[in-house]
Protein backbone atom coordinates (compact mmCIF):
# COMPACT_ATOMS: atom_id res chain seq x y z
CA UNK A 1 0.00 0.00 0.00
CA UNK A 2 1.34 3.41 -0.89
CA UNK A 3 1.56 5.79 2.02
CA UNK A 4 0.91 9.32 0.76
CA UNK A 5 3.67 11.80 1.51
CA UNK A 6 1.32 13.90 3.56
CA UNK A 7 0.44 10.89 5.71
CA UNK A 8 4.05 10.63 6.84
CA UNK A 9 4.32 14.17 8.05
CA UNK A 10 0.87 14.75 9.49
CA UNK A 11 -2.67 15.22 8.33
CA UNK A 12 -3.09 17.79 5.60
CA UNK A 13 -6.56 18.96 4.85
CA UNK A 14 -7.14 20.15 1.29
CA UNK A 15 -9.53 22.73 2.71
CA UNK A 16 -6.81 24.41 4.78
CA UNK A 17 -3.91 23.89 2.39
CA UNK A 18 -5.12 24.79 -1.06
CA UNK A 19 -1.81 24.60 -2.88
CA UNK A 20 0.07 22.03 -0.83
CA UNK A 21 3.82 21.82 -1.30
CA UNK A 22 6.22 19.60 0.55
CA UNK A 23 9.09 21.59 2.05
CA UNK A 24 12.43 19.91 2.53
CA UNK A 25 16.05 20.88 3.12
CA UNK A 26 19.02 20.14 0.89
CA UNK A 27 22.43 21.61 1.78
CA UNK A 28 20.77 24.09 4.14
CA UNK A 29 18.41 25.46 1.49
CA UNK A 30 14.68 24.91 1.84
CA UNK A 31 13.07 23.68 -1.37
CA UNK A 32 9.50 22.76 -2.26
CA UNK A 33 7.87 20.13 -4.43
CA UNK A 34 4.15 20.02 -5.23
CA UNK A 35 2.80 17.49 -2.75
CA UNK A 36 0.99 15.51 -5.42
CA UNK A 37 4.24 14.89 -7.28
CA UNK A 38 5.72 13.07 -4.28
CA UNK A 39 4.53 9.48 -4.07
CA UNK A 40 5.72 8.98 -0.53
CA UNK A 41 8.27 9.93 2.09
CA UNK A 42 10.27 7.12 3.65
CA UNK A 43 13.06 6.79 6.14
CA UNK A 44 16.55 6.58 4.72
CA UNK A 45 17.52 2.95 4.43
CA UNK A 46 20.39 2.50 2.02
CA UNK A 47 21.80 -0.57 0.40
CA UNK A 48 25.13 0.68 -1.02
CA UNK A 49 25.78 0.13 -4.71
CA UNK A 50 27.70 -3.03 -5.64
CA UNK A 51 30.31 -1.05 -7.55
CA UNK A 52 31.45 2.49 -7.80
CA UNK A 53 28.84 4.40 -9.71
CA UNK A 54 28.10 8.07 -10.30
CA UNK A 55 28.39 10.71 -7.58
CA UNK A 56 24.65 11.14 -7.44
CA UNK A 57 23.86 7.45 -6.84
CA UNK A 58 23.85 6.55 -3.15
CA UNK A 59 22.51 3.04 -3.49
CA UNK A 60 19.23 1.16 -3.46
CA UNK A 61 16.21 1.22 -1.22
CA UNK A 62 13.81 -1.65 -0.68
CA UNK A 63 10.43 -0.09 -1.17
CA UNK A 64 8.18 -2.96 -0.15
CA UNK A 65 8.35 -5.36 -3.15
CA UNK A 66 10.55 -3.21 -5.29
CA UNK A 67 14.09 -1.95 -5.23
CA UNK A 68 14.52 1.67 -6.24
CA UNK A 69 17.61 3.80 -6.88
CA UNK A 70 18.53 6.39 -4.26
CA UNK A 71 19.82 9.64 -5.67
CA UNK A 72 21.55 12.35 -3.63
CA UNK A 73 19.59 15.50 -4.37
CA UNK A 74 22.54 17.60 -3.18
CA UNK A 75 24.64 16.34 -6.08
CA UNK A 76 21.80 17.01 -8.51
CA UNK A 77 21.25 20.55 -7.25
CA UNK A 78 24.70 21.77 -6.26
CA UNK A 79 27.17 19.02 -7.22
CA UNK A 80 27.81 18.38 -3.52
CA UNK A 81 26.81 15.38 -1.46
CA UNK A 82 24.59 15.94 1.54
CA UNK A 83 25.56 14.69 4.97
CA UNK A 84 23.01 12.14 6.02
CA UNK A 85 21.76 12.36 9.59
CA UNK A 86 18.84 10.83 11.45
CA UNK A 87 16.55 13.50 9.98
CA UNK A 88 17.51 12.54 6.42
CA UNK A 89 14.80 10.81 4.45
CA UNK A 90 13.82 9.78 0.97
CA UNK A 91 11.24 11.42 -1.26
CA UNK A 92 9.89 8.90 -3.74
CA UNK A 93 9.03 10.49 -7.07
CA UNK A 94 7.97 8.85 -10.32
CA UNK A 95 10.72 8.05 -12.80
CA UNK A 96 10.54 9.19 -16.38
CA UNK A 97 9.90 7.11 -19.50
CA UNK A 98 13.66 6.72 -20.09
CA UNK A 99 13.92 5.10 -16.66
CA UNK A 100 11.12 2.64 -17.43
CA UNK A 101 8.98 4.58 -14.97
CA UNK A 102 10.91 3.11 -12.04
CA UNK A 103 10.28 5.27 -8.96
CA UNK A 104 13.31 7.23 -7.84
CA UNK A 105 14.26 7.97 -4.25
CA UNK A 106 15.59 11.48 -3.75
CA UNK A 107 17.63 11.72 -0.57
CA UNK A 108 17.18 15.01 1.31
CA UNK A 109 18.53 16.31 4.62
CA UNK A 110 15.12 16.77 6.25
CA UNK A 111 11.46 17.22 5.54
CA UNK A 112 10.16 20.47 7.01
CA UNK A 113 6.44 20.20 6.46
CA UNK A 114 3.67 21.14 4.09
CA UNK A 115 2.93 24.71 3.09
CA UNK A 116 0.46 26.33 0.76
CA UNK A 117 2.31 28.12 -2.02
CA UNK A 118 -0.29 29.75 -4.29
CA UNK A 119 0.57 30.51 -7.91
CA UNK A 120 0.15 34.23 -7.20
CA UNK A 121 3.25 34.10 -4.97
CA UNK A 122 5.39 32.43 -7.62
CA UNK A 123 7.74 34.07 -10.08
CA UNK A 124 9.88 32.48 -12.77
CA UNK A 125 13.50 31.82 -11.79
CA UNK A 126 16.17 34.10 -13.28
CA UNK A 127 17.63 32.85 -16.53
CA UNK A 128 20.87 34.56 -15.73
CA UNK A 129 24.01 32.44 -16.10
CA UNK A 130 22.19 29.13 -15.87
CA UNK A 131 24.29 26.00 -16.10
CA UNK A 132 23.26 23.48 -18.72
CA UNK A 133 19.92 23.29 -20.43
CA UNK A 134 17.79 21.51 -17.88
CA UNK A 135 15.97 23.91 -15.63
CA UNK A 136 14.74 21.97 -12.63
CA UNK A 137 13.55 25.00 -10.70
CA UNK A 138 10.00 25.59 -11.87
CA UNK A 139 9.46 28.79 -9.91
CA UNK A 140 10.50 30.84 -6.91
CA UNK A 141 7.77 31.16 -4.30
CA UNK A 142 7.84 34.30 -2.17
CA UNK A 143 7.75 33.34 1.48
CA UNK A 144 8.66 35.18 4.68
CA UNK A 145 10.56 37.91 2.83
CA UNK A 146 12.64 35.43 0.87
CA UNK A 147 12.12 32.81 -1.79
CA UNK A 148 11.59 29.08 -1.77
CA UNK A 149 12.76 27.40 -4.98
CA UNK A 150 9.95 25.17 -6.21
CA UNK A 151 11.30 22.12 -8.03
CA UNK A 152 9.68 20.07 -10.76
CA UNK A 153 9.78 16.31 -10.06
CA UNK A 154 9.50 15.37 -13.74
CA UNK A 155 12.39 17.63 -14.68
CA UNK A 156 14.49 16.23 -11.83
CA UNK A 157 13.86 12.70 -13.08
CA UNK A 158 14.74 13.76 -16.62
CA UNK A 159 17.93 15.66 -15.79
CA UNK A 160 21.27 14.22 -16.84
CA UNK A 161 22.62 13.55 -13.32
CA UNK A 162 19.59 11.52 -12.27
CA UNK A 163 19.38 9.73 -15.59
CA UNK A 164 23.05 8.73 -15.33
CA UNK A 165 22.53 7.59 -11.74
CA UNK A 166 19.56 5.40 -12.69
CA UNK A 167 21.49 3.90 -15.60
CA UNK A 168 24.45 3.16 -13.31
CA UNK A 169 22.10 1.61 -10.76
CA UNK A 170 20.54 -0.62 -13.43
CA UNK A 171 23.97 -1.60 -14.72
CA UNK A 172 25.18 -2.45 -11.21
CA UNK A 173 22.15 -4.54 -10.29
CA UNK A 174 19.93 -5.24 -13.30
CA UNK A 175 17.72 -7.55 -11.28
CA UNK A 176 17.13 -4.86 -8.69
CA UNK A 177 14.56 -3.09 -10.79
CA UNK A 178 12.50 -6.26 -11.18
CA UNK A 179 9.86 -6.65 -8.52
CA UNK A 180 10.76 -9.45 -6.10
CA UNK A 181 7.19 -10.59 -5.69
CA UNK A 182 4.50 -10.44 -8.30
Amino acid sequence: MNVPAAGRIGRVSPATVKYPHLLFTVLDVVYALPLLSVQEVTTLDVVPPARAATDALIGSHALRFQSIPLVDLGVVLEQRRITTTRTSCTLVVPGGPSQANTPIGLVVEAVNGVKSLPPSDMTPPPRMAMLGHGQIVAALAASDGGFIPVLDARRIAACADVDAAVRAWRAAAPEASIPALE
Binding site: V29, E78, T123, M128, A129, L131, G146, F147
Partner: protein, 190 residues
Amino acid sequence: MHRDAASTPEPAGGVPLTASGGQDVQCLSFLFHDEAYALPLLRVREIVRFSECTRVPRVRPYVRGVVNLRGTVVPVVDLAVWLGQPETVVTPRTCLLVVEAAGEAGTATLGLVIDGVDQVLDLRSEALEPPPSFGTLMPPEFVAGMTKAGERFVYLLDMDRLLAEGGLLRGTSARGHVSSLVSQAHGDGR
Protein backbone atom coordinates in the same frame (compact mmCIF):
# COMPACT_ATOMS: atom_id res chain seq x y z
CA MET B 1 39.91 59.42 -19.98
CA HIS B 2 41.96 62.42 -20.92
CA ARG B 3 39.99 64.15 -23.63
CA ASP B 4 39.97 67.46 -25.34
CA ALA B 5 37.61 69.74 -23.39
CA ALA B 6 35.90 70.78 -26.60
CA SER B 7 35.10 67.21 -27.65
CA THR B 8 31.87 65.48 -26.71
CA PRO B 9 32.45 63.18 -23.76
CA GLU B 10 31.83 59.53 -24.43
CA PRO B 11 29.23 57.72 -22.37
CA ALA B 12 30.81 56.05 -19.39
CA GLY B 13 29.03 53.27 -17.61
CA GLY B 14 26.12 53.74 -19.98
CA VAL B 15 25.38 57.28 -18.75
CA PRO B 16 26.87 60.42 -20.35
CA LEU B 17 29.31 61.81 -17.84
CA THR B 18 28.62 65.42 -18.56
CA ALA B 19 24.96 66.24 -18.60
CA SER B 20 23.47 69.00 -20.71
CA GLY B 21 24.50 72.36 -19.34
CA GLY B 22 27.98 71.13 -18.43
CA GLN B 23 26.97 69.80 -15.03
CA ASP B 24 28.94 67.09 -13.33
CA VAL B 25 27.43 63.63 -13.07
CA GLN B 26 27.08 62.21 -9.64
CA CYS B 27 28.58 58.79 -9.12
CA LEU B 28 28.40 56.46 -6.17
CA SER B 29 31.73 55.08 -5.13
CA PHE B 30 31.97 51.81 -3.28
CA LEU B 31 34.61 49.52 -1.87
CA PHE B 32 35.30 46.19 -3.46
CA HIS B 33 38.23 44.00 -2.46
CA ASP B 34 40.40 46.89 -1.22
CA GLU B 35 39.74 48.97 -4.31
CA ALA B 36 37.28 51.81 -4.86
CA TYR B 37 34.91 51.69 -7.82
CA ALA B 38 32.13 54.00 -8.93
CA LEU B 39 28.94 53.85 -10.92
CA PRO B 40 26.78 56.73 -12.15
CA LEU B 41 24.15 57.35 -9.50
CA LEU B 42 21.39 57.06 -12.09
CA ARG B 43 22.31 53.43 -12.65
CA VAL B 44 21.98 52.57 -8.98
CA ARG B 45 18.44 51.65 -8.10
CA GLU B 46 19.03 51.16 -4.45
CA ILE B 47 21.44 49.97 -1.80
CA VAL B 48 20.28 47.30 0.58
CA ARG B 49 21.98 45.67 3.48
CA PHE B 50 23.20 42.22 2.51
CA SER B 51 22.27 39.60 4.99
CA GLU B 52 21.45 36.45 3.12
CA CYS B 53 20.06 35.30 -0.18
CA THR B 54 18.31 32.21 -1.46
CA ARG B 55 20.72 29.94 -3.30
CA VAL B 56 19.44 28.81 -6.66
CA PRO B 57 20.68 25.49 -7.99
CA ARG B 58 22.45 25.08 -11.30
CA VAL B 59 23.71 28.59 -11.81
CA ARG B 60 27.26 29.82 -12.29
CA PRO B 61 29.30 30.06 -9.08
CA TYR B 62 29.36 33.86 -9.19
CA VAL B 63 25.58 34.02 -8.86
CA ARG B 64 25.20 33.72 -5.09
CA GLY B 65 21.45 33.41 -5.29
CA VAL B 66 18.43 35.66 -5.41
CA VAL B 67 16.87 38.16 -3.05
CA ASN B 68 13.29 39.22 -2.73
CA LEU B 69 13.22 42.94 -3.32
CA ARG B 70 9.59 43.83 -2.60
CA GLY B 71 8.40 40.86 -4.61
CA THR B 72 10.93 41.16 -7.42
CA VAL B 73 13.52 38.46 -8.02
CA VAL B 74 16.96 40.08 -8.06
CA PRO B 75 19.95 37.85 -8.87
CA VAL B 76 22.90 38.46 -6.57
CA VAL B 77 26.25 38.57 -8.37
CA ASP B 78 29.60 38.28 -6.64
CA LEU B 79 31.96 39.95 -9.08
CA ALA B 80 34.93 38.69 -7.08
CA VAL B 81 34.07 35.08 -7.97
CA TRP B 82 33.52 36.10 -11.59
CA LEU B 83 37.01 37.59 -11.52
CA GLY B 84 38.45 34.35 -10.19
CA GLN B 85 38.86 35.60 -6.61
CA PRO B 86 37.53 34.03 -3.41
CA GLU B 87 33.93 34.73 -2.48
CA THR B 88 33.34 38.15 -0.91
CA VAL B 89 33.33 37.83 2.86
CA VAL B 90 30.11 39.19 4.33
CA THR B 91 30.68 41.74 7.11
CA PRO B 92 28.26 44.19 8.76
CA ARG B 93 29.27 46.75 6.09
CA THR B 94 28.58 44.45 3.14
CA CYS B 95 25.84 45.82 0.90
CA LEU B 96 23.95 44.87 -2.16
CA LEU B 97 24.16 47.46 -4.89
CA VAL B 98 21.05 47.02 -6.99
CA VAL B 99 21.89 48.26 -10.47
CA GLU B 100 20.24 48.35 -13.84
CA ALA B 101 22.25 47.50 -16.89
CA ALA B 102 21.38 47.03 -20.53
CA GLY B 103 22.33 43.55 -21.67
CA GLU B 104 21.77 41.67 -24.92
CA ALA B 105 18.32 40.60 -23.82
CA GLY B 106 17.24 44.05 -22.63
CA THR B 107 17.60 45.74 -19.30
CA ALA B 108 18.65 43.59 -16.40
CA THR B 109 18.39 44.35 -12.72
CA LEU B 110 20.95 42.67 -10.54
CA GLY B 111 22.50 43.04 -7.15
CA LEU B 112 26.26 43.38 -6.80
CA VAL B 113 27.86 42.28 -3.55
CA ILE B 114 30.14 45.09 -2.40
CA ASP B 115 32.27 45.53 0.70
CA GLY B 116 30.70 48.88 1.56
CA VAL B 117 29.44 52.17 0.20
CA ASP B 118 32.05 54.93 0.13
CA GLN B 119 30.74 58.33 -1.03
CA VAL B 120 28.95 60.27 -3.74
CA LEU B 121 31.36 61.91 -6.17
CA ASP B 122 30.79 64.65 -8.71
CA LEU B 123 32.65 63.41 -11.76
CA ARG B 124 33.54 65.40 -14.83
CA SER B 125 34.83 63.59 -17.89
CA GLU B 126 37.86 65.87 -18.05
CA ALA B 127 38.93 64.61 -14.65
CA LEU B 128 39.02 60.99 -15.78
CA GLU B 129 42.29 59.29 -16.57
CA PRO B 130 42.65 56.09 -18.58
CA PRO B 131 42.67 53.00 -16.38
CA PRO B 132 45.97 51.22 -15.80
CA SER B 133 46.55 48.21 -18.00
CA PHE B 134 47.47 46.02 -15.02
CA GLY B 135 47.45 45.98 -11.26
CA THR B 136 43.71 46.26 -10.71
CA LEU B 137 41.28 43.52 -9.86
CA MET B 138 38.92 44.55 -12.64
CA PRO B 139 40.15 44.05 -16.24
CA PRO B 140 40.79 47.49 -17.76
CA GLU B 141 38.28 46.95 -20.58
CA PHE B 142 35.49 47.18 -18.02
CA VAL B 143 36.78 50.41 -16.48
CA ALA B 144 35.68 53.60 -18.21
CA GLY B 145 38.30 55.66 -16.45
CA MET B 146 39.79 56.51 -13.11
CA THR B 147 40.06 59.56 -10.94
CA LYS B 148 41.56 60.46 -7.60
CA ALA B 149 39.29 61.00 -4.65
CA GLY B 150 41.22 61.92 -1.54
CA GLU B 151 44.07 59.50 -1.06
CA ARG B 152 42.78 56.74 -3.28
CA PHE B 153 41.98 56.12 -6.91
CA VAL B 154 38.41 55.43 -7.92
CA TYR B 155 37.71 53.31 -11.00
CA LEU B 156 34.54 54.11 -12.93
CA LEU B 157 32.90 50.81 -13.93
CA ASP B 158 31.45 50.34 -17.39
CA MET B 159 28.47 48.26 -16.34
CA ASP B 160 26.95 47.82 -19.80
CA ARG B 161 30.23 46.55 -21.18
CA LEU B 162 30.61 44.24 -18.25
CA LEU B 163 27.25 42.69 -19.07
CA ALA B 164 27.41 42.81 -22.85
CA GLU B 165 31.02 41.82 -23.47
CA GLY B 166 31.96 40.39 -20.11
CA GLY B 167 29.34 37.73 -20.47
CA LEU B 168 27.93 38.05 -16.96
CA LEU B 169 24.46 37.21 -18.22
CA ARG B 170 25.68 34.56 -20.64
CA GLY B 171 27.78 32.88 -18.00
CA THR B 172 31.28 33.48 -19.31
CA SER B 173 33.91 33.97 -16.62
CA ALA B 174 36.21 36.97 -16.63
CA ARG B 175 39.07 34.59 -17.32
CA GLY B 176 37.15 33.20 -20.29
CA HIS B 177 36.53 36.70 -21.56
CA VAL B 178 40.22 37.62 -21.27
CA SER B 179 41.20 34.36 -23.02
CA SER B 180 38.83 35.15 -25.87
CA LEU B 181 40.37 38.63 -26.16
CA VAL B 182 43.85 37.09 -26.28
CA SER B 183 42.82 34.58 -28.95
CA GLN B 184 41.22 37.39 -30.94
CA ALA B 185 44.47 39.35 -30.70
CA HIS B 186 46.45 36.31 -31.89
CA GLY B 187 44.00 35.89 -34.73
CA ASP B 188 44.46 39.52 -35.74
CA GLY B 189 48.21 39.13 -35.70
CA ARG B 190 48.19 36.22 -38.11
